[in-house]
């Protein structure tokens, strides 16, 4: 039994994205939810599932959201408050629908990173004091804090192993800024040059300011239902064709390809096998069929790592591979066409899921990927979901 094409996204909604704290996460999430219902032609009472990956203190929790929006939920789930769970959360929604635990699941993300920016590093980095170290290798005893540090540890070693440079890394935020310029909802729309990137201050060296995502507020809601129901919806359905889960274990460090040797990660030369990329088999496509790739671009190196992890290029090749517009809108593999976390907004990656839906419906105007049929969400930590229209 496979889940291929048994579920689909029927509606999406987003709030306004902002760098100034304007609204509470609950208010933003409520706006996005109502907008998703209207978009999909779905009634509130049809929603009987609710999944959330970013809860308190950054975002809205499932219990309060269901109460506040008057939802009668029979499948609720909420993961650890980390953006890495975007993919797994969406997958839980699809699995709940496919197994009959729910008819229509709302994936809800309403976040205020601005109000809670203290959690992102420094004295508020409570997770960093975990006995075994923080989840991005944080160790406040030595001043090692903030998710950016994890990406910096990885890319420093990557630079040394493969001779890559910060200037090459600049191609990533520059590409996504070009996409944001074509997206009226994006927060950062002014052009970014390589000189700007190189001249920007270091946050955690070797990461420059423009290698780090926005700290912003916003909400996005995605409604997942059965393929049959979605075909009767108001809009073109976007089918969930394949998925594979998030990886963990001694070969893994969240912000690196397997084998890089960060933290206690085992060192070896990673070459993905068909088994490790089973998402393509489930979806019945290959990398060549993917019209655009979307990833959790909290920090620019994560874009290189996902390309290598999923075999779009070989190990150590992503730095050269991402040059000359290859990941830009009219390149060979457009990535994060809304501007991503680096330039659109940090809605924990749900803004990119919303973008996939809008692209596959052909709604994206100036930034439309022409003839788009197949799009992929994939992360440096190995989860992936493939969609088609």
């Amino acid at each position: 039994m496979t889940i291929r094409d048994r579920t689909a996204i029927i509606g999406v909604g987003t709030s306004r994205f902002s760098k100034a704290p304007t609204e509470t996460p609950m208010r933003l999430a409520a706006q996005a939810f109502k907008s998703a219902l209207a978009d999909g032609g779905v009634s509130r009472d049809e929603v009987d599932g609710l999944v959330i990956n970013i809860g308190w203190p950054l975002g809205v929790d499932y219990d309060r959201f269901a109460e506040a929006l008057g939802l009668r939920i029979r499948f609720a789930d909420q993961s650890w408050t980390h953006g890495r769970f975007v993919g797994p959360t969406l997958q839980h929604a699809a699995m709940a629908v496919a197994t009959g635990l729910a008819r229509c699941v709302a994936c809800v993300c309403g976040v205020s990173f601005i109000q809670e920016r203290g959690l992102l590093g420094g004295p508020g980095d409570f997770e960093g004091t975990r006995e075994e170290g923080g989840t991005h290798e944080e160790n406040p005893v030595y001043g090692l804090t903030a998710p950016a540090a994890g990406a910096a540890l990885s890319v420093q070693r990557y630079f040394a192993l493969y001779g890559a440079t910060s200037a090459e890394l600049g191609a990533v935020p520059i590409a996504f800024r070009k996409h944001a310029a074509l997206n009226p909802a994006a927060i950062m729309r002014s052009p970014l040059t390589l000189e700007d990137h190189q001249a920007s201050r270091f946050v955690v060296e070797p990461l420059h300011l423009f290698d780090c995502c926005l700290v912003s507020d916003g909400a996005a809601v995605v409604l997942v239902t059965s393929a049959e129901r979605a075909r009767d919806g108001a809009r073109t359905p976007v089918f969930i064709a394949g998925m594979q889960g998030m990886r963990a274990g001694p070969d893994e460090f969240l912000f690196a390809t397997p084998g890089l040797g960060i933290g206690q990660q085992r060192e070896f030369r990673y070459t993905p096998t068909e088994e490790q990329l089973s998402v393509y088999r489930m979806a019945g496509v290959t990398q060549k069929d993917v019209d655009a790739l979307y990833t959790y671009d909290a920090f620019s190196p994560l874009v290189w790592f996902v390309l290598e992890r999923f075999g779009f290029c070989g190990l150590g090749e992503a730095a050269a591979w991402t040059q000359k517009g290859r990941i830009e809108l009219h390149g060979e593999l457009p990535m994060n066409t809304s501007g991503g976390l680096l330039s659109e907004a940090h809605v924990s990656g749900w803004n990119s899921i919303a973008e996939i839906v809008r692209q596959l419906r052909g709604d994206c105007g100036e930034r439309q990927v022409r003839g788009a049929r197949v799009m992929q969400w994939a992360t440096a930590w190995g989860d992936s979901t493939i969609f088609h229209s």
């Binding site: 420094g122 006995e131 290798e137 001043g143 540090a149 540890l153 070693r157 201050r201 270091f202």
Partner: protein, 137 residues
């Protein structure tokens, strides 16, 4: 002397022998008594064979910088005077990697592959932190 204002390690039943050893200016790691593999961070079972039989063994304190970063952004007020400060990961000759600071080396001279050795910093009467310096031999 002013009080030490930086974060201190969270000492637990699993990691107490590590911090007891650093107070004696020794670096000690857990080694599986079945398969002889060193492990870090401290854990109740061996990652390889799941054995609970463990011994704490003093190690060389020597290793190689496997990666490093330099903090420029002020996250901790208590580290403000140190900016820009480094954090290194050191692959010990025995296998596991430790996170610490590299002392007495200008940030611009830190390289991956650099040989280093442990030193101990008595930051409070109860806690001595291992850090690293350039290897002297």
């Amino acid at each position: 002397m002013t009080a030490y204002g930086k974060p201190l390690p969270r000492i637990t039943p699993d990691n107490r022998p590590f911090w007891d050893a650093t107070r004696r200016h020794e670096l000690a790691l857990q080694r599986c008594a079945e398969c002889r593999r060193f492990r870090y961070p401290p854990a109740p079972v061996c990652t390889e064979c799941l054995s609970e039989r463990v011994e704490w063994v003093a190690v060389s304190g020597r290793g190689t910088v496997s990666t490093f970063v330099v903090f420029h952004h002020r996250y901790f007020p208590s580290f403000a005077a140190d900016l820009p400060y480094n954090v290194v990961q050191v692959q010990l000759d025995e296998g596991p990697r430790l996170t610490a600071n590299l002392v007495n080396v200008p940030n611009a001279e830190i390289t991956i592959g650099m040989r280093v050795e442990v030193v101990f910093d008595d930051v409070t009467p109860e806690v001595s932190l291992p850090r690293f310096r350039r290897a002297t031999t």
